[in-house]
């Protein structure tokens, strides 16, 4: 990247020194962009310094491909499908953790995000709340879970609580941002018709913010599913716990099977949640294959009906 940005000045300068002998119109000299160049130099230095200073034995890299192939072979040739029922049970626990945590987070964050909305509450209430959201967003779920261990012990419930607390931060922020970005028209209309603050909220703000907020809730659920797998890795139960146990005891064929399960389940949940989100925002279902077929048949039907209309007009 640095080489690309540095080159043009070198070629630009000779042209700028004097009038060209040939009659061709002279090219304007390229701007210098001194600031950009300084930034690139600083970035390069920082990266090089990081590489140079970090305490790593880089010769481990040489044996890595061989090791990787070895372990991948152990994992996936073949994966231990006999443990699949256990894995599915553990996955359900993880999903339950994510669902319950997200729901709890929604229940708590919804009123809080209303309190943090500009135009509804004075700044004294708003800013501390926003600060709390920011702090919760900055602390990773795993750290929250580590903190909660002392309170409830190492159970799936702890994991769900950690997810709930973590999701308050993001949901709170998304909530007040979508409440603030609604169209002012309905609010004005409600105010003009003499609505109370609560009624303005219900009919002026909520109706327009609703689809966005629902979509955020679903999106947060997707994130929570990933987080719940991670929480299992520190012992909160579910698929993550099963994974880390099998990694520790080096049962690689089970690890391979579990990885496939994690990937497939995450993809399925993303697809499902994406479909529901599409339904909420666009108002109709978008099923990957069905929609394409339906669109095609709808096009055909439309062209047929146009034909019919033409013949009817005749």
């Amino acid at each position: 990247m640095t080489a690309v940005t540095a080159r043009p000045t070198g070629t630009g300068r000779p042209g700028a020194t004097g009038p060209t002998a040939s009659g061709a119109p002279q090219r304007p000299s390229k701007p210098l962009h001194l600031g950009t160049k300084v930034i690139w130099v600083v970035v390069t230095i920082v990266v090089v310094a990081a590489f140079w200073s970090i305490d790593i034995s880089w010769d481990a890299l040489l044996t890595l491909p061989q090791k990787l192939v070895h372990y991948l072979g152990l994992m996936f040739l073949p994966p231990a499908w006999s443990k699949l029922p256990d894995a599915l049970g553990a996955t359900m626990l993880s999903v339950a953790m994510a669902w319950f945590g997200t729901l709890l987070g929604i229940v708590i964050s919804f009123p809080l995000s209303l309190l943090a909305t500009r135009g509804l509450m004075p700044a004294v209430v708003r800013w501390p709340l926003r600060g709390v959201f920011a702090v919760l967003r900055a602390v990773p779920e795993v750290v929250i879970a580590v903190l909660m261990l002392s309170v409830t012990g190492l159970t799936a419930f702890t994991g769900a609580l950690a997810i709930a607390i973590g999701s308050i931060g993001t949901l709170g922020k998304w909530g007040y941002e979508s409440f603030e970005s609604v169209d002012r028209g309905p609010i004005e209309a409600a105010t003009a018709a003499g609505a109370s603050r609560l009624q303005i909220m219900r009919w002026g703000v909520w109706t327009s913010a609703k689809p966005d907020v629902y979509a955020f809730w679903l999106y947060r659920f997707e994130i929570s599913v990933r987080a719940s797998a991670i929480l299992g890795l520190i012992g909160a139960g579910g698929i993550g716990k099963m994974l880390v146990d099998n990694i520790q005891f080096r049962v690689w064929d089970v690890v391979g099977m579990l990885m496939i399960v994690v990937v497939v389940v995450t993809m399925i949940i993303d697809q499902l949640s994406g479909m529901v989100r599409h339904r909420i925002i666009e108002g109709r279902w978008e099923l990957p294959v069905v929609t394409a077929l339906r669109r095609r048949s709808a096009k055909r039907a439309r062209s047929e009906s146009v034909d019919l209309k033409i013949t009817a007009d005749d």
């Binding site: 590489f51 970090i54 790593i56 990773p140 012990g153 159970t155």
Partner: protein, 265 residues
């Protein structure tokens, strides 16, 4: 009702049963999930004293611990920077490969997209624990985990940006006889560069957050320190570490919001 011409309201569409069904489904899943994870409110009540103690300890970070956290802190930052640099370098060609706008070969496109989907759906901590067992504990396995984690995100974001670009310049280049590589290099790369750089900064920010965590399974950095102090219940140390993470994240957020504003302008 029959005689009214202008005054009759349109009847509301009857959708209440849909609402009931949706609510019932949500309630059902919630009940099932609460049984599955064993919701135990009494445990919280019983351990309230414990919780209060923890909170009190958390509120009093022990600043004398700071010198001991410095190496881990430095390692976290180093890991984040190296992982960002490596993944940014790899992600550029791959995202050109994974975008419909820049890759005319639909078979290669499908393969790359599928692989990236798989890469993206594995959580970062899982990569870390795998590499720790394969490579051994330390920063190297952490860097590998972060690079894979970043690649998933970067390639998705950049290739989606490429999909959304105006393809006029590329078309012109192709019409004048350029190869796809040259057309993408000259017409698409400059267009996508601001998005690419701003996503790189975003990934650096993510990496700082993530590299504090992946240490929990032994991949180096602040996470490893967190793991040490939490096994001894040294919450006044733990809160100092959390405070450090907060400071770095906030600083980076300020830097990245400033840089992005400059890039968009």
């Amino acid at each position: 009702m029959t005689g009214a011409v202008g005054g009759a309201r349109p009847t509301k569409p009857r959708t209440w049963w849909k609402t009931v069904v949706v609510l019932a489904v949500i309630a059902g899943i919630t009940v099932w999930s609460s049984i599955a994870i064993g919701v135990d409110v009494s445990a919280i009540a019983e351990n309230a004293h414990n919780a209060a103690n923890t909170l009190i300890q958390l509120m009093q970070p022990d600043y004398s611990f700071f010198p001991q956290t410095l190496p881990a802190l430095l390692q976290t930052v180093q890991m984040a920077i190296i992982a960002t640099a490596v993944s940014v370098a790899i992600a550029l060609p791959v995202s050109f490969w994974a975008s419909r706008a820049t890759n005319p070969n639909s078979v290669a496109l499908g393969i790359v997209r599928f692989i990236m989907n798989v890469v993206r759906s594995v959580p970062d901590l899982l990569y870390a624990s795998l590499f720790v067992t394969v490579v051994g504990t330390g920063a190297l396995s952490g860097i590998f985990a972060l690079v894979l984690f970043n690649l998933g995100i970067l390639v998705k974001l950049v290739s989606e940006a490429l999909d959304g670009l105006d393809r006029g310049g590329q078309e012109a280049a192709l019409a004048s006889g350029a190869s796809w590589f040259k057309a993408n290099r000259q017409a698409m790369l400059p267009e996508v560069a601001p998005v690419y750089i701003s996503q790189a900064i975003y990934v650096l920010e993510l990496n700082i957050r993530a590299s504090t965590v992946i240490g929990l399974v032994g991949a180096g950095g602040l996470g490893m320190l967190i793991d040490q102090v939490r096994t001894f219940y040294q919450y006044h140390y733990l809160s100092l570490i959390i405070l450090e993470i907060l400071v770095i994240v906030v600083l980076l957020e300020l830097l990245s919001s400033f840089a992005r504003r400059r890039l968009i302008k």
